[in-house]
Symmetry: C2
Subunit: 131 residues, 2 copies
């Protein structure tokens, strides 16, 4: 079911609905994410989307997009490399770079790229297979 080198791709868009759900969830109204004047003054094109919206996309990827539902996340790591803006369409790509059958553990490396093919975030996820 899983092999080293297996690649998964998925498209995610941060719509105003996504953004609104994240603010309701997190209550993070830091001005970088809510005040475009502030964000522009800090050198961005407009309000910057919360990086942790991408972590919610990782939850969907692990929970819903793999060939089995018997999974649980053990650890995650994410590096934010470029800003993500409202309505950005992100191309997510994950590759299995470790599969340890005896301990039922899988490691993915992944990246999110924007429509300019720039990496906006990348990292690793370790999951376990539930028995």
């Amino acid at each position: 079911m899983f092999n080293i080198g297996d690649v998964y791709e998925q498209s995610f868009t941060i719509t105003s609905e996504t953004y609104g759900h994240f603010i309701q969830l997190s209550k993070d109204r830091n001005p970088l994410h809510t005040n475009s004047e502030f964000a522009i003054e800090k050198g961005f094109k407009g309000i910057v989307m919360h990086g942790n919206i991408l972590n919610a996309f990782l939850s969907y990827f692990i929970g819903e997009c793999l060939p089995t539902k018997n999974v649980i996340i053990h650890s995650q790591e994410i590096q934010f490399k470029n800003p993500v803006y409202l309505n950005d369409e992100l191309n997510f790509k994950a590759e299995i770079d470790g599969y340890y059958e005896s301990v039922k553990s899988i490691e993915f490396k992944y990246s999110f790229r924007n429509s300019d093919s720039k990496i906006v975030a990348k990292g690793k996820i370790q999951i376990g297979l539930l028995q």
Copy 2:
């Protein structure tokens, strides 16, 4: 404003509202998080809360609880150590374990503990200070 060893504490509860917002945001309806029969069969007490809800709490901590709003997350790392259930009250504790003034960068180590004082998750966050 920031010193190595500074400690921040915060309490977070995963209410059914929090859980609902996360499902709307992520669309992750994996049975571990939505089907209590499935979760119990897998050895848990009931449906397990999505780990990435804790990452949304980290967003709030960085965006709203520090002595300045001029912050941006550079990277995060989280390890899930024990399950979190609906209505669990979590004690979050973060400590500054690196402050690099010349590059305006701060590193925190953090943990979330449940009401039994068990660590449910821990990790590190690196942030930058915006000029």
